[in-house]
Symmetry: C2
Subunit: 362 residues, 2 copies
Amino acid sequence: MMTKNGHPRLVIPGPVEVRPEILEAQTEWMIGHRSSAFADLFARLQTKLRQVFLTESRVFVSGSSGTGLWEGASRNCIRDDRKALHLTGGAFSERWAEISQLNGKQVDIINVEWGQAHTAEMVADALKKETYDAVCVVHNETSTGVTNPIKEIGEVVKQYNDTLLLVDTVSGFLGTELRADDWGIDIALTSSQKAFALPPGIAFASVSDQVLERAKQVTNRGYYFDFLELEKSLQKNNTPSTPPIALMFAADKQLDDILAEGLENRWTRHQQMRDMTHQWALDRDFGLFAQDGYRSNTVTTVDNSRGIDVNDMAKFMKGKGFEMDKGYGKIKGKTFRIAHMGDMQPTTLEEVLGGLDEFLGA
Amino acid sequence: MMTKNGHPRLVIPGPVEVRPEILEAQTEWMIGHRSSAFADLFARLQTKLRQVFLTESRVFVSGSSGTGLWEGASRNCIRDDRKALHLTGGAFSERWAEISQLNGKQVDIINVEWGQAHTAEMVADALKKETYDAVCVVHNETSTGVTNPIKEIGEVVKQYNDTLLLVDTVSGFLGTELRADDWGIDIALTSSQKAFALPPGIAFASVSDQVLERAKQVTNRGYYFDFLELEKSLQKNNTPSTPPIALMFAADKQLDDILAEGLENRWTRHQQMRDMTHQWALDRDFGLFAQDGYRSNTVTTVDNSRGIDVNDMAKFMKGKGFEMDKGYGKIKGKTFRIAHMGDMQPTTLEEVLGGLDEFLGA
């Protein structure tokens, strides 16, 4: 049951299991980042990334995790004498707000209880009262399993020319509908190791022209995540500093496979796995932690209403060859998460749920 | 002559050729970054990294290129009302100084002509006149092929308790002697794709206790490169955000191989390849761009005194299966660089030099 090198298969909400052929794509022989071979790779990636972000603007490739792009988004979009509005309601949305502040930015916060979603109305009310440089929202809060209504929030933010909509879609992207241009998203940032199903170490962000205009008005953008530097290089099909080339080879192959599956099919497969997981949980007298109507396609946070020992559960499942999550942050143990994202197929999820049934019966 | 996927072998000064078994190490099945398997990997790496940096303090692992760690070093070590002293004399040392400034830091500069080295006396004179929070120096300036006398500069900086010595050893590390603790280096930062001979996308920095003390006195360190956050996680054998795990697998294997070769043997092999390259260049009436006595072990910048067409040269060599450099920045074409670093063996360098002879004879 154990896999190569004795590693269990990952059912945690990232990093996720990466298919062997994608891992193998990393073994392409190394190329220089100022070579024509690299420019070709960069251009191919750019075309495919725009297709999956559903944007006609541009998608930056960052040699970092998504956390790095949080810092980049905040440093490029929030002016010194202005504020950002952060919507928080879980470990990751809270951390992004903290990162804005750690970078010297002024922040207002709309906080909801963990497990609740933000609504377009909350944002509308806030924007009526104050002018913000940016609204920062997490699409899919990995800690709670809540998906925020980005499309509806986008409708509100669109009415304010000076307010950018910055979206963390780290654990939503490629498992949940997201349309950068149609929904008025100025930055949609994601990393590789969630529903993208790549190894970690590379991150991506669709970036609107408005963001670049804003960046020109912001000082202290630094360099590594300076979007104007990234744009200058993008025009030449390269990056300001040496990027994670092996991961770009893997992304090149993975994007082909994702486009072959089809974006809508991929979203639907995730939705099916979500529904399977919900049904499983409810049938076994567990609760669902996330608010009804806002439950994630990619990760289900199970309310541990039966009070099972999550450590025992994880240990049992490891014996079955699966690495399980035990809940995150302040809701660890009171909840546990079942990730159903990336290239996972419903048949694998059935194996996982079957394993959990064995544990519950034991 | 062409290699896998038709890629030429890299003779550019980074990224360098990565051995197939190291590329293969990236295909280990993915693990979670909060798992015990990861903690084991992190701890193994930490032990081996301390051995190669020759430090007893700590070595941070960063999901970035070396450029990211420049930003980190500057943001963590230079207080608001103080200054850093940057030693510049090539494209990379200049860029680091610029990055300090882009992060709002005050900087004084000792600039030498490209091709010249900095001396300990220059630093001693400057430190007599003014108090600096840090001296920032590039060990091996990749654009010019100059190696700065870090040990001697360290002797000077040691006399000033409040002044940290920050060393970029991106293209020197593991090809040239560097002793973090013995030489009084507070930060030695490097990336993976030079003499370390790993794919790009991961960077490393040995960091002294003094740096952490300093960081506590610096505001606006941000988060992604905040050394206090990295330290907090290091104590738990992990990283604040998801790191490039596949590259860490590769580093784990590569460090075993480097330690098996032996640090001193590795430095000697690089020195031999340097001497071969110098002899070749001088015998063919080329000059050596770098100042005598300070010529790099890892990259030779050849003064194109014969006025060969470097584009023709590179094209010819590509036909032989080698990717050559054509010079960097303002000395492009007037110079070209021959990299002899990483896992390259003298026999491969002979092939390269033989190919260049064919071009010159043609």
